[in-house]
Symmetry: C2
Subunit: 210 residues, 2 copies
DNA sequence: TAGATTGTTAATCGATTAACAATC
DNA sequence: TAGATTGTTAATCGATTAACAATC
């Protein structure tokens, strides 16, 4: 009842608001207005106001929102408090980039283990995350209550890894391989289509120039 | 003046159609229907049909589209023919992952040069791309007619690199750093918000489970 | 012909923007 | 009080889905 879930677009913007708010000096009583946030992030004022209205405990007319409580409200709505765990498969350049990506640290999602098939890597740590042999995945996932899997392997191995993850009880997959994964109905897949992203930018540029 | 530009969503889907079509066996005369593409990629039939209608030279009722000419039509609409060049700044794990990412190769956008401030890397090659000192950026960009820049440096350096790129005449920036970049009006920025992407997946999962 | 498929037109849905009343 | 700002309601815009006619 009620509690309509937050849309993708809103979540995306909330993370940028949060970043901006944290960059502001705050003595614990400082305030900020939606107008100011919008200007700083090149967004529409009303959009920001609507986003904040959706998740915040309220601002004061003529004053704005108290920075520290707004930060708290955003973090709560993004689930920073009750955090969940994820495992990463594939510790190549991309995998390492993800493991070292600072911005995940602050997030409600933590990468707790990594898997790779390269014997030389197994048993070592990367950015504080232990790299394990893929054979141990099923056993470890069961114990750790992990529900999110990240696929950072070459596209030829992606479906195989995906099946393995599903077999381990993973219910949400973040896929960086340029492959459409086949999964059961109860598993969510989010594809990170990097090639498309670059193409989109290139097309927008072309359009602008013409 | 007709020629309305293709939307972001359509571009994204077109890249997946292309991938699927290329995976099909084709003797040069084989056909495929929108229905089949939709089923293979878990998409709505009508959506696929509308996308294809927008960019293809037409299909035949009861038969479908000729695979090889559909591939050509998609590639043309995505600008695979008149390709453009991009430079990458930051050859850490993420930068290397992008340089080695196979799917860019087939794209109309080519990464022609990389820059880094690490002396040890300068002058070496990574995946066939030469790594240069950032000081030489302005000079090289002018000669190479590059308009796209990719920022894969730590967030603390992102704005500085951004300013540098703008100074070199770059008009479109693909930003992986979790920072809102300030740019002149004639420069396009596309932010790749990885933390948000993972959060979205995590939220969708939470919603599904509850 | 019959029927699968294309392609178009209308309906729905969701997100953004605009207008405006409420408030401190 | 006057005015900046919140928050809500209505209008617009765009994307997806549904319905249906056209076609081979």
């Amino acid at each position: 009842m009620g509690e309509r879930s937050i849309s993708i677009h809103v979540i995306e913007r909330l993370t940028t608001y949060l970043r901006y708010l944290k960059s502001l000096p705050d003595d614990g009583t400082a305030s900020v207005s939606a107008t100011k946030i919008a200007a700083a992030l090149d967004l529409n004022q009303v959009l920001v106001r609507k986003d904040l209205a959706e998740i915040s405990s309220g601002g004061k007319p003529r004053v704005g929102y108290q920075i520290c409580s707004l930060i708290e409200d955003i973090e709560t709505s993004l689930g920073y408090n009750d955090s969940s765990s994820a495992i990463l498969v594939g510790v190549g350049n991309l995998g390492r980039a993800l493991l070292s990506h600072k911005s995940f640290r602050e997030t409600g999602v933590r990468i707790v283990l990594a898997f790779d098939c390269d014997e030389a890597e197994i048993g070592t740590d990367c950015c504080g995350v232990r790299i394990m042999a893929t054979e141990k995945m099923a056993d470890l996932c069961g114990r750790l209550k992990v529900h999110i899997g990240i696929i950072a392997v070459p596209d030829t191995a992606a479906q195989e890894v995906c099946d393995m993850l599903v077999g381990c009880g993973i219910k949400a997959i973040w896929n960086f391989a340029p492959t459409h994964l086949k999964v059961p109905d109860d598993v969510i897949v989010r594809n990170e289509n990097l090639a498309a992203s670059l193409l989109i930018l290139s097309q927008q540029l072309r359009e602008r120039l013409s």
